[in-house]
Every structure is written in structure tokens, then in C-alpha cells.
Symmetry: C2
Subunit: 336 residues, 2 copies
């Protein structure tokens, strides 16, 4: 209830800032996503659906209000993703899934469409907000991608406080790991090829934004796969797979079966089809998702260009997603 009142206040402030900012030349725009997968109305209780809607709206408005306040698209992307990272609902930050070893290993990346600067972290275990560390890598190191303990040493050098692994403990994710391991044991008893787990795998979060200066940014953050092992890295921290932004074409953030998204290079591919293939955003997004689909992968992608044009494409039952429509109103969608 308090959440709901907070939400209404946030929207009201957003609308107010809205009217004053519309005098400028550039359109601002933002899309966020909270993962794509087997999200059916029949599987989601009304209470859970409302919790998702509320948190997605809070995340969207956090980013939107940055843009309304003449903030940068990078600030907006970080603000929106921070809200989802701090919620236990999504597979990123607080709600990250567990690895096979019962740890949490998080990945994130962010990209600046004006400069093509980018930052990414992979397999970090003690970072509350991996998207913020990815941004530090982009802005305060000469590197793009840092991993593991080294990335955390960099975080500490930059004054970022680490959190204990216990911060990421949530009962829901722990039970998912136990179910995944039980499924694995069953599969191995039956000597069958491990089938795709029915466990909701796709809670990766992401955001694309366009600021008043006409600059795009994109970011993605995830806990990866439940029961993952061998230091597996998916598409989220890979520039060109999970995240890409270039003012000349578009900003894109993806979610789904990471391996397929890496092989297609989904976000870089979308940008390339827009830039070289002269496709519109929706055609490009659909075409990249068709390639993922043809290889056997599932997921989705959100895309935005400097005109404020938007596209969302996914081949799953549902995708947590939200954007601000032409009238400045938040639109939150979950199902197909």
C-alpha cells in the first residue's frame, strides 16, 4: 500500500517535470525489461503480478525522472536498473539466482551511444549493483571488461563497498536451485539428455534510454543461470550480445538464452541491420530474434533510436517490459 502511494507520487512528479521539459528540441525516451520467459497469467498470482507491475513502474519512473531532469541517458539506465537490482523479483542484484556451488555470480554491462565507450563486469560475487560497477569500469579504467576477484579489487580501489554473499540469499532462488539439482539428478538417473529446466531462467534486467541531448545508452544486468557452473558467462556482460548502443543506429538490451544471443551477436546485429540494412527498428529486432529462434533460443530485445522510436521483440510467452508512451504515461506489459 505504501509502495502504491509512493508510486503515485513518483508518477505525479514525473508528469510535472514532463511538462517543463517538453519545451526542448529532443524527445526523451526509455524502455526497460525484466526478463522474458514462460510467463503465463495462469502461473502468476494477482499479488505477484502486482508486485512486478509496481517495481517495474518504479524502475521506469526512476529512469524517466532522470531524463526529465535533463540527466544523461547513462544516468537514466543506471537508475532504472538499480531499482530492479535492488528488488528480489528479478534475476539481477538482490534476486540473483544461485550457481551450482550455491554462490551468486553476477554480470552486467553498459554502453554510451555517443562515444561507444563501454564497461562490463562478469562473475562478481560481492557487488550490490553490478551495473554501477560496469559504469565505473567504463568511466574510471582504461578497460572494457573486468572479471571475478579482479573486478572486485577494482571496485574496492574505487571506494565501492562490497556486500557479503548472504546479501543475495532469497528463499525463492535457493528453492529454485534445489529444484534444478533435483531435476538434474532425475535426468542423470534416467540417463537422459538434460532437458531444459522448467525453472524460470530469464529474469535478466535491462534498459535503453534517450536523453535531451539526443544521446543513447543501454545497460543489462543479470545473475545468469540457476545451477550454472564452470564460470559460465552469458550474453549480458558481452558488448554486442546483451548490450549495444550507438547514436548512429540504436541502443539495445537483450534477455534470454545467453548462448544463442552471443552466437547471433543480437544487439550488435540489430544495430548493424539498422545502420547498413536500412531496416526500421522493429524489422531489425524481429530479424535478430528470428535468428535466435532458428537456432533454438528464446528471449527478447528492446531497441531505441535517437528519434525516440522504439521496438520490442520476443519469442517467449511473456516479457516484463515497460516504456513511456507519447503522452508521457508509463505503459507496463507482461504477457504477449
Amino acid at each position: 500500500m505504501i509502495n502504491k502511494i509512493l508510486l503515485l507520487i513518483v508518477i505525479a512528479i514525473g508528469s510535472f517535470i514532463n511538462s517543463s521539459a517538453q519545451e526542448t528540441d529532443h524527445r526523451i525516451a526509455i524502455i526497460i525489461h525484466g526478463g522474458a520467459g514462460t510467463i503465463l497469467k495462469s502461473n502468476l498470482s494477482p499479488e505477484m503480478e502486482q508486485r512486478y507491475r509496481d517495481t517495474i513502474t518504479l524502475a521506469l519512473m526512476a529512469g524517466y525522472n532522470v531524463l526529465r531532469n535533463h540527466g544523461s541517458s547513462l544516468d537514466a539506465v543506471e537508475a532504472a536498473i538499480n531499482v530492479m537490482e535492488d528488488s528480489p523479483l528479478f534475476n539481477a542484484g538482490k534476486g540473483a539466482v544461485f550457481t551450482h556451488e550455491g554462490t551468486n555470480e553476477l554480470d552486467a554491462s553498459i554502453m554510451n551511444g555517443k562515444t561507444l565507450s563501454a564497461g562490463a563486469v562478469a562473475a562478481v560475487k560481492h557487488i550490490k549493483n553490478p551495473i554501477s560497477l560496469a559504469r565505473m569500469v567504463m568511466e574510471r579504467s582504461k578497460h572494457v571488461m573486468l572479471t571475478g576477484d579482479g573486478a572486485e579489487a577494482f571496485a574496492q580501489q574505487q571506494g565501492m563497498q562490497l556486500v557479503p554473499q548472504s546479501y543475495f540469499y532469497t528463499e525463492r532462488r535457493w528453492q529454485e536451485l534445489q529444484r534444478a539439482k533435483a531435476e538434474e539428478r532425475n535426468d542423470s538417473l534416467k540417463n537422459s539428455v538434460p532437458k531444459d529446466s522448467m525453472i524460470e531462467k530469464h529474469g535478466t534486467v535491462g534498459c535503453v534510454a534517450l536523453d535531451l541531448n539526443g544521446n543513447l545508452a543501454a545497460g543489462t544486468s543479470t545473475g545468469g543461470l540457476t545451477n550454472k557452473r564452470f564460470g559460465r558467462i552469458g550474453d549480458s556482460p558481452i558488448i554486442g550480445a546483451g548490450t549495444y548502443a550507438d547514436n548512429r543506429s540504436c541502443a539495445a538490451s537483450a534477455t534470454g538464452d545467453g548462448e544463442y544471443f552471443i552466437r547471433v551477436g543480437v544487439t550488435r546485429d540489430v544495430a548493424a541491420m539498422v545502420e547498413y540494412g536500412r531496416m526500421n527498428l522493429q524489422q531489425a529486432a524481429d530479424s535478430a530474434m528470428a535468428k535466435v529462434n532458428a537456432l533454438g533460443g528464446t528471449g527478447g530485445v528492446v531497441v531505441l533510436n535517437t528519434k525516440g522510436q522504439m521496438a520490442i521483440s520476443f519469442n517467449t510467452e511473456g516479457m516484463y517490459r515497460a516504456y513511456i508512451d507519447e503522452n508521457g504515461k508509463p505503459v507496463v506489459l507482461i504477457y504477449k
Copy 2:
């Protein structure tokens, strides 16, 4: 001297197999590279130049002979890169540079242009031939990218023997680390921004190949940057940055300042310009390198398509590179 005789025998065998294989429909082709950087004739002793030429020729012929024997482009790429990984001359495998902590952390990736299957390993410390482990990841796991200790646990599970870190000790690389640290201390004493080290940074190796079945493959292997820290990962293990292969467009392998190659997504970009922009390979390679150059990066890329057309582009003083010409003869080049 023995090396030289061996080389002549290898070339002779290659030419013999050559004549019998030319009856088939498809052309075969291969390009390898051993890094791009400040490689000037004045800096390279005649003996060192000859050692490089000999080893590059051995690597090229190892890959070429696989193709001549009706082997796959993946086998050719792996065979050629294995030779360079086993040589102390290149910054990959045996000759990998040292990290800030005095360890060696290796990265590699490989991709199958027919299926878009891909495999990559990053920050492995005990793998003699990272390209072979990348291929195992591609063919024997459901993942694309494994990192660190986890990747090595996978290697052991697959029966691959680990090597001790001492295997990667070479006096030359150790001295490079000491010089890099001395430069760093000088820079910090002078309170100046660390300037780009004069130390040869670019010894990454790679290969693209086309087999008799008309299938492309690409692979890249590296030790990364001398004095690197914080678990830094460059472009070599990133599908779409250091390595990409798609029969519909081309196979490409890159070497250079990894961060810039990730930001541009060089190999994926080259493939996209060929596929969507209808550029020829040289235009696409030059265009991608122009983007790297505009951002301030240096390096090079080798590209091959299913017609056997080739392109090499670099913006450095030199690039160790070799290919088989139309007459089946090896061509080894170093300088501009």
C-alpha cells in the same frame, strides 16, 4: 637448421596433397596472423625475423595440410593456432605475457561458420592450448563462454591435462613485465597519465579457414596485456569482437587494443557490412579498422569468405600474417 628442413618437408607434402585436392569443387583457403603492432625491420634482428617467418610458415602449413587432407576448417584453425600457441614467439599459449601479479591468464575463442556454434575461455591459467579448450566448450558443453577456475574444472572433467603456471615462463615476457612495472612507477612518480607502453603488446594469434565443404571457421588466442590486472578481458574471447564466422558473410579474427575492438565489435561488424552493406571483404575490413582508428585503437583483422576471397587490414607498422596464394604457395608477410 633442423627447423628449416622440417619446414621444407612440410611445404613439399603440402604441395603434393595440393595437386590431388584441386579436383574438388570448392576452393580451400587459410589466413593466419600472429599479432599487429610496432613491428619495424629496424627493431627485428635477421635471426628473430627468420624465427618468426619459420614458425608462421609451420603454423600456416599445419592448417593448410588439414584442409588439403579434406579436414574441416575448424580442425585447420585449431591446428594452425596450436603451432603458434606452442611457440614462445607469440603472446598466446607458451609465450603468453605476464599479468601484474606475475601470473599468466589466457583467453581464446573459436566459431563454426556453418552452425554459428561458438566456444570461448577467458582467464585460464593452466591450459596449454586455450583454443583447444574453447573448441571443447563449443562441442562438449551447452555453453559458449567459460572463465577462470570453472573453465579449468571443465577441462579436467573432459580429460584435458592442466599444465603448471611455470610452463608459461619465458625470460623475454618476464623482462617485459619488469619494464612495464618500471614504466608505471616512473609515470606515477612524474604524476603523469600513464602513457602507452612501448612494450610490444600485440602478439595475439588467429586464423580463418575455408574447407572443401565450403565451411568457414575462425579462431583467436591470446595472453592478453602485459601487466594487466583486475581480471581484465580483451576482445580475443569475445564472439563478435575478436572472432566471428558465418558462412553467409565471412570469417574474421582480430588482434590489437582489445578494448577498441570490443567497442566496435570488429569481427561482427565486418560480417554485418558484408551481409547487409554489400561491401566486399577489403572495404568491410578497412571500414571496421577505420572505426577502431578513429577511437584511438590500433591492430588488425584477417577476413575470408566462402568463395576463398581474402582481406587483411591493419593500422600498425606491421602485422605477422600469412596465407596461401592462388598457386598454393605460402606467403608470409611482416611489415607494411
